[in-house]
Subunit: 348 residues, 2 copies
């Protein structure tokens, strides 16, 4: 039962503007960690399976950057999406691709743009999930991160009864998926023991295709039409992406699946979805400033400062984001970080 | 009685870092007004006297920029200071230079780096001062700006009895010069009718040299030694600047002079001594933001934003200074603008 690992790398990371740009998005940056996020994600997965079974689904504009960062990835393992259509079409495309090679394989799906502080714990959770699939082949498993604060930027998963356990990990039934909450709701979810939905999945490729057939039959039919003469054709991919509805895998499949499981996990995960999150994820100085590049800080606390060319000097400011990109400079309070994506879209 | 106008242009404008730099200081920038400050100052004075009687005292590193901005100024009218030694030596040097050409001339002294919104009122005040000197040849006159707020960044002048008046202007005796006050003291000064000391003076060249002889006799002797064979020699200038004590004209002469007068004046003066002052001096948008260059402002009020190359985007910040210079970016609250000079010195 070989593992096929799919990296969804189509995101634009607009909330990390102006550092993240359309042709150089978040996943191609290192954010001070030494390796780009896509490279780190790839290496984490390469510890688990052969590079011939690692796939990256991404847009054409980002593909060149991805190839540069992952030179050992076989060219045919980069699956190009002509246009982004949310996660369900992306996963259908990858599942179909994998099922042509290995209909009995296990498919694991990960976003490209997160940090994992404890990769050994990450590998343990995936290994445990694969073990569960041996016994429950129809199960659709998601990883649920144990929250450490009432984050409003993520969806939540409510776990139900324990199905099995081993080595400190357990598999629990999914009671419900919850949309991104407001602050009060987030605190409630945490009190209820809900987990963060990090968009990481493990299932048998046959099981997910079966779930598409059952819960998204139109999309399933459109996806199947990509295959012609036993092969997925470029024309088939184009036709699929121009016809398919943008639907998330959570909404389209996971919420409807009767056999969904969640593995609560802690592996130092951070999606660094915003400058504020980045400031929390990376080390800061004794005044709580997270700085990269040539930064001079006077009488200033809790700032996230990212200098890429010019020197940045702060005097007497607190809890700000100050980022110098190639073409633009952003200044906003950390608690307005979530608004950066909207501005970046507007400026585009 | 010809007028000789001296522009003191040796300042570094460090409080306007990072836009103002050692070799490209404040006076060589336009700050959105269309003409550099030195050019505006020059043109204002050229409306009053011939360019052969306008002088600029400055440092060697700035001189090239000054010549570029004032191509019609005779080369010999740029008086080079080997090193800055505050205003008294600068004025002694210029006075000696002028007295060689025109011992009976009137000398008027101005800083290079201020805005004058109403030049006709400025000319009236100078004209009135020159008239006063015809009747009171020994008088040392300073212009006192009528304050519109309790500024702590300027010194103050306490005016005494009225000596004469004409055309809405009057000459008053100087009671005292006051150092830069704190906020409470500044409010007190304003209640007492004190005026801002803007460093603008009018006197007969013979009167100021006589005042040097009387109040700063050592400096007077050192200055006189610049002349050799009837000429001021480069070696004499070097020797003077390496020997002379740095003293301000206010402290060294004006505070001691028994015959000092002040003309209260209002001519839309602003010294734009800081980014905050610049924000007050220039037009702002309806949210009180003073912006130059490509600036995007969302939900932000009262900021001074200066973009010189990159786009600057603000979200949800108020009363900040955000300035992009050639090599550096500054972020500080407007009310910390006065601290910028100290930082600029430290970074140098």
């Amino acid at each position: 039962m070989a593992i096929h690992a799919v990296i969804m790398a189509g995101g634009r990371g607009e909330r990390l503007w102006p550092f993240s740009k359309p042709d150089r998005p978040k996943q191609l940056h290192a954010f001070g960690t030494g390796k780009s996020l896509i490279r780190s994600t790839y290496e984490r997965l390469a510890g688990m399976t052969d590079s011939s079974r690692i796939y990256v689904v991404t847009g054409e504009d980002i593909a060149a950057g991805i190839r540069e960062h992952l030179p050992e990835l076989p060219a045919e393992n980069i699956l190009l999406e002509p246009v982004g259509r949310n996660t369900a079409p992306c996963i259908a495309y990858a599942a179909l691709h994998i099922s042509r090679k290995d209909p009995d394989g296990v498919m694991a799906v990960f976003p490209a743009d997160h940090l994992v502080g404890k990769p050994e714990r990450f590998h343990e959770a995936i290994g445990f999930g694969i073990g569960c699939l041996a016994r429950r082949p129809g199960l659709l498993i998601t990883l649920g991160l144990v929250p450490d604060h009432p984050e409003t930027g993520y969806g939540y998963i409510a776990p139900g009864e324990a199905l099995e356990g081993a080595g400190g990990l357990e598999l629990r039934r999914v009671l419900a998926f919850r949309e991104k909450p407001d602050g009060e709701k987030a605190r409630e979810y945490i009190a209820q023991g809900c987990l963060w939905n990090a968009g990481m999945f493990i299932w048998r490729v046959g099981a997910i295709l079966e779930a598409f057939r059952k819960h998204l039959p139109v999309m399933y039919g459109q996806a199947m039409a990509m295959v012609s003469g036993g092969e997925i054709t470029p024309g088939g991919v184009s036709a699929f992406y121009s016809a398919v509805e943008p639907v998330s895998i959570d909404y389209g499949i996971m919420e409807k699946a009767s056999d969904a499981g969640v593995i609560p996990a802690e592996f130092g995960w951070d999606d660094i979805g915003s400058w504020d999150a980045l400031g929390k994820a990376l080390p800061s100085d004794e005044a709580g400033n997270t700085c990269r590049g040539e930064v001079v800080v006077e009488d200033s606390r809790g700032n996230v400062v990212w200098a890429t060319g010019k020197k940045i000097a702060l005097i007497g400011v607190n809890d700000l984001v100050v980022v110098e990109g190639e073409d633009a400079i952003l200044v906003c309070p950390r608690n307005r970080s979530q608004d950066v994506g909207r501005l970046a879209k507007k400026l585009k």
